[in-house]
């Protein structure tokens, strides 16, 4: 077998079984983007420094640039493409859109998945817990504040609370 000879693995991607063949040195990031055509997962450094390539592996946020594709055989991978269900946005996607938590949108898939993992583990996180959970993800556009507010709003809605964004969030302080 040459270095470029492809290997085939079976895994679950966004809730569906998938088989994919790729060169064995490829990272999960490369397999997702190049072999599964799921380009919603982005890259900012490919060195594990920025968090931009975050996906969920068996529900845990991982840096897909540091995970070998081969290591995912038999595991469950979730990417941003798997968040909306039956054409309906995930509550986090709704609030990220409404509050402007996505500006250029490049780091957004990673933040959404890291936030989803947080809310599954902790449905009512404090602001500091949100900051801790997202500290490994860089965003150069938003200053993170709209991201915190979007996570808090989505968390409240996922708990069944009927809440709208505070006026100050959208219009500033009077």
């Amino acid at each position: 077998m040459t270095a470029d000879a492809k290997v085939t693995i079976a895994l679950e991607v966004n809730g569906e079984p998938a088989e994919v063949a790729f060169a064995p040195h490829k990272t999960l990031l490369e397999v997702l983007r190049e072999d599964l055509n799921l380009t919603g997962t982005k890259h900012g450094c490919e060195l594990g420094e920025c968090g931009t390539c975050t996906v969920l592996l068996d529900g845990t946020p991982v840096l897909s640039c540091l995970v070998l594709g081969l290591a995912c055989a038999g595991h469950k991978v979730k990417t941003v493409e798997g968040m909306a269900q039956a054409g309906r946005l995930h509550p986090l996607q709704e609030t990220f859109a409404d509050l402007g938590a996505a500006q250029c949108g490049y780091c957004t898939p990673a933040f959404l998945l890291a936030a989803e993992a947080l809310l599954i583990a902790n449905p009512k996180p404090t602001r500091d817990e949100i900051k801790d959970a997202l500290a490994g993800n860089l965003c150069r556009c938003t200053g993170y504040i709209k991201i915190y507010e979007a996570v808090e709003l989505a968390a409240a809605r996922m708990r069944g609370e009927k809440v709208e964004p505070a006026r100050e969030t959208l219009y500033g302080r009077p």
Binding site: G44, A97, C104, T108, Y171
Partner: protein, 806 residues
């Protein structure tokens, strides 16, 4: 605002859903059948002649389809007509570590990377120029064979009134020195470009660029193709901040490789390469001398800047002028002199980063004023309020100020932050600082001289009621696509989310100059407004006829056209389009925008004029640990005069993002190099280049001030850059209030704070910062009498100046 249905409200951006679902296609998300991967070989020498490039081994590697060197692309280019000093691949010499020398296209990224290792470049090293001071001291060896003097690229000397006389009228004259370290944009998306060459002689380039029009021009020039055979499509930028505003080597190389191989080619830069592309904030040494009366009124100001430009011109001539242009638009400066110099050095080229050339002098000016206020025993907020430039006035350097909401901004942050209860009154280690700023809403002149509009829009109304807006503007995350939709929706009374927006495609869209200079909302907004008003006029004519009403009674709202006095009397928007189309044929209009001409007529007057100036005031609270020197910023209060919000939520987003980026510049971000003549970049990675994470980001309290400017669409002014500017000086002033030491340079690192504290403890001046400004061979000043001394905006003839027009 009353009467507006769309403008002024908080909306989603029209591309928000695409962004949160991962559907948005960024440049590296593109892939084509038979696509090749391009890679650039970059210089390992900071300054050297290229003796020989041997590509033979690389060409023999299996999977390598093409190899390029400088000789394949010999025509120079550059963003400014006066600085056409770059080659897609270096021809005869390299000017910084990272300068591209050769390129490869191969069937895989791995093969392309392996091929780079097989290219042998023989260099003849030259002495490197490591800093601006080094460039002043060493005119030789010259980095470029052009420029004003030795290794000084640009020298400027402008005097508006007799500054010496201004100083003699003053009660206090103060001089200070400041240094602003260079930093970089760090967009999360690395630059990428893909090119397709079709056998019918047409080239298509997709690129993560803020300025597709300028890339189009550069491609036509270097590739010697008719512009009509080149199509440039700017993909949505994964962050720009100015870093994707130049035409770049990889964009030209990828196009050439596609032409040569007949196959699609893509180049995606690594993060390390993004640091080499740079074009970020110029490291700037500054000296400022100001005369003031006892009440704080300024009698004269003299400002000098020395910019470290890096290896190429880029936007540098404009950047240099910008370090002297906007000092006059916040506080009244009756006499003003500016001397600016830009040096070539053997580092990645500097250019425009958010605030372009103005954050450095704003830092200097606002800290300088803080020191003046202390000497005069005045509250620094009060001092600023007393000296504000009045609205609708002309400054000493002939900038036309329109709406001016800075006073309201200062009052808001003073009140909101509890300034009066905190300033000088917080316990040791805690402090507050205030600073203000202003920024342009687009530049008055285009990059290349012409009389054409800066922004164009085409608008098409479909008989189904759909509206499509075409504009060359580029979405970089700031919401430029959305602004087009909101403005058109407001005028035509349709839902902004039912408007199709086609942007940034030189085959499909009229020229817009690009997403830089905070120009988009004002300029494309005005162009869209004109196109929409023209469409409305056509539709109103036929709807009014049908309804037997005077046209001015018609309201366009909620997808209908109806009688203002009897809303039931009307029709759907689609029916109005159908009536008009039946009568006149296909309904389409155009709109365009050209800024008003500047008032200054002297050489250099082109940089600084803008249709409108935004204003910001900022209070920062800091917590300084005297044991470690670590500065924490719990809260920043910011008030920004945006003229009018088009989308309030997007405005807040720009303000918070600006505060974030300013905080990074204030405390940690720096492009730094090893302190020797190898000029090796210390930190070309996201781990080592420190930028704020969620753990460093402060709380932000935002006040949006709306002082509409008649030049803005619905009164709107810029917001994307201005609110960054006051953060650095506000933090520096707060550190002084907290621990009584002056760090007169950014970033304000723990090391510098500790050093200043130690000096203070020893009884020395508690200050860290530059102590000298080098001797520069300044040219003869261009003397321009200010408006209140009978000036007409033109430079005075030398003889007339001697007699001093008063």
């Amino acid at each position: 605002m009353a009467g507006h249905r769309v403008v002024g409200k908080a909306h989603r951006k029209i591309d928000a859903v695409a962004k949160v679902t991962g559907i948005t296609k960024f440049a590296d998300d593109l892939a084509f059948p038979r696509m090749l991967y391009g890679k650039l070989l970059r210089s390992s020498e900071p300054h050297a002649k290229i003796v020989r490039v041997d590509t033979s081994a690389a060409e023999r590697l299996e999977g390598v389809i093409a190899v390029l060197t400088g000789e394949d692309l010999p025509i120079p280019f550059g963003i400014l007509p006066v600085s056409q000093d770059e080659h897609a691949l270096c021809l005869d010499k390299v000017r910084f570590i990272g300068d591209p020398v050769a390129a490869v296209a191969a069937t895989s990224e791995e093969t392309a990377t392996a091929a780079l290792d097989l290219i042998k470049v023989e260099y003849e090293p030259l002495r490197a120029i490591a800093s601006a001071e080094d460039a002043v001291a060493h005119p030789e060896p010259r980095i470029h064979d052009y420029g004003d003097s030795g290794n000084l690229h640009k020298l400027i000397d402008l005097e508006f009134g007799d500054v010496a006389e201004g100083f003699s009228d003053a009660d206090l004259v103060r001089e200070d020195l400041f240094f602003f370290e260079g930093n970089t944009h760090l967009p999360m998306e690395q630059h990428a470009a893909a090119a397709v060459w079709s056998p019918d002689g047409k080239l298509t380039l997709w690129s993560s660029t803020q300025t597709p029009h300028y890339v189009h021009r550069a491609l036509a020039k270097v590739l010697e193709l008719p512009p009509a055979r080149i199509r440039v499509i700017a993909t949505p930028n994964g962050g720009g901040f100015g870093g994707k505003s130049d035409p770049f080597s990889h964009e030209i190389v990828v196009a050439k490789l596609a032409m040569l191989t007949g196959r699609p080619v893509k180049i995606t830069l690594t993060r390390e390469e993004v640091f080499y592309c740079h074009r970020g904030r110029h490291p700037t040494l500054m000296w400022v001398k100001t005369g003031v009366k006892k009440d704080g009124a300024i009698t004269g100001m003299h400002f000098r800047s020395l910019l470290d430009g890096g290896g190429y011109g880029s936007y540098g001539v404009a950047s240099t002028y910008y370090t002297g242009a906007l000092q006059t638009v916040t506080y009244q400066v009756p006499r003003y002199r500016f001397q600016g110099a830009r040096a070539f050095t053997n580092k990645p080229p500097c250019g425009p980063k958010r605030g372009h050339g103005t954050p450095q002098p704003r830092f200097a000016l606002e800290v300088h004023l803080d020191k003046i206020a202390e000497q005069l025993k005045l509250d620094p907020a009060e001092l600023r309020l007393k000296t504000l430039v009045p609205p609708n006035s002309l400054t000493a350097n002939y900038l036309r100020v329109g709406s001016m909401g800075l006073g309201k901004c200062i009052e808001k942050v003073v009140e909101g932050s509890g300034w009066k209860q905190k300033f000088h009154k917080l316990p040791e280690g805690r402090g507050v600082g205030i600073a203000c700023s202003s920024y342009i809403s687009g530049a008055g002149l285009p990059i290349y001289w012409n009389n054409m509009p800066h922004s164009g829009v085409q608008l098409r109304c479909d008989r189904g009621g759909g509206v499509t807006v075409f504009c060359g503007s580029t979405e970089i995350g700031q919401g430029s696509d959305s602004v087009l939709a909101y403005v058109v929706a407001e005028v035509l009374g349709v839902d902004p989310f039912e408007i199709a927006v086609v942007t940034a495609d030189t085959d499909l869209t009229p020229v817009d100059l690009g997403s830089y200079s905070s120009r988009v909302t004002l300029m494309t907004g005005n162009a869209a407004l004109q196109a929409a008003e023209r469409a409305r006029e056509i539709l109103a004519l036929h709807a009014a006829r049908k309804l037997e009403l005077p046209g001015d009674r018609l309201v366009f709202a909620d997808g209908r056209v109806f009688d203002a006095q009897d809303p039931d009397r009307g029709m759907t928007f689609a029916e109005a389009v159908q009536l008009a189309e039946a009568a006149e044929g296909t309904i389409g209009t155009v709109g365009s925008y050209t800024p008003p001409r500047g008032a200054g007529k002297y050489r250099g007057a082109g940089v600084g004029p803008s249709p409108a100036y935004s204003y910001s005031a900022c209070v920062a609270e800091v917590d300084v640990d005297p044991a470690t020197g670590i500065v924490r910023v719990p809260t920043i209060w910011i008030a920004h005069d945006v003229g009018r919000c088009i989308n309030a939520a997007a405005v807040i987003g720009q303000v918070e993002g600006s505060i974030y980026m300013g905080l990074g510049e204030a405390l940690m971000e720096e492009m730094s190099y090893r302190g020797d003549l190898k000029v090796v970049h210390k930190i070309p990675s996201l781990l080592e280049y420190k930028s704020p994470t969620t753990l460093e980001m402060c709380d932000v309290v935002t006040y949006l001030i709306e002082d509409p400017d008649p030049n803005g669409p619905f009164g709107a002014k810029e917001v994307g850059q201005g609110p960054l500017l006051p953060v650095m000086p506000a933090v520096a002033n707060a550190v002084y209030d907290a621990v009584g030491v002056r760090v007169d340079e950014v970033p304000i690192t723990p090391e510098k704070v500790l050093k200043a504290l130690k000096k203070k403890a020893k009884g020395e001046e508690g200050r860290v910062g530059p102590s000298t400004f080098p001797q520069i061979p300044w040219p003869e000043p261009t003397r321009v009498p200010p408006p209140w001394e009978g000036g007409d905006g033109k430079a005075a003839a030398p003889a007339a100046v001697m007699g001093r027009q008063r």
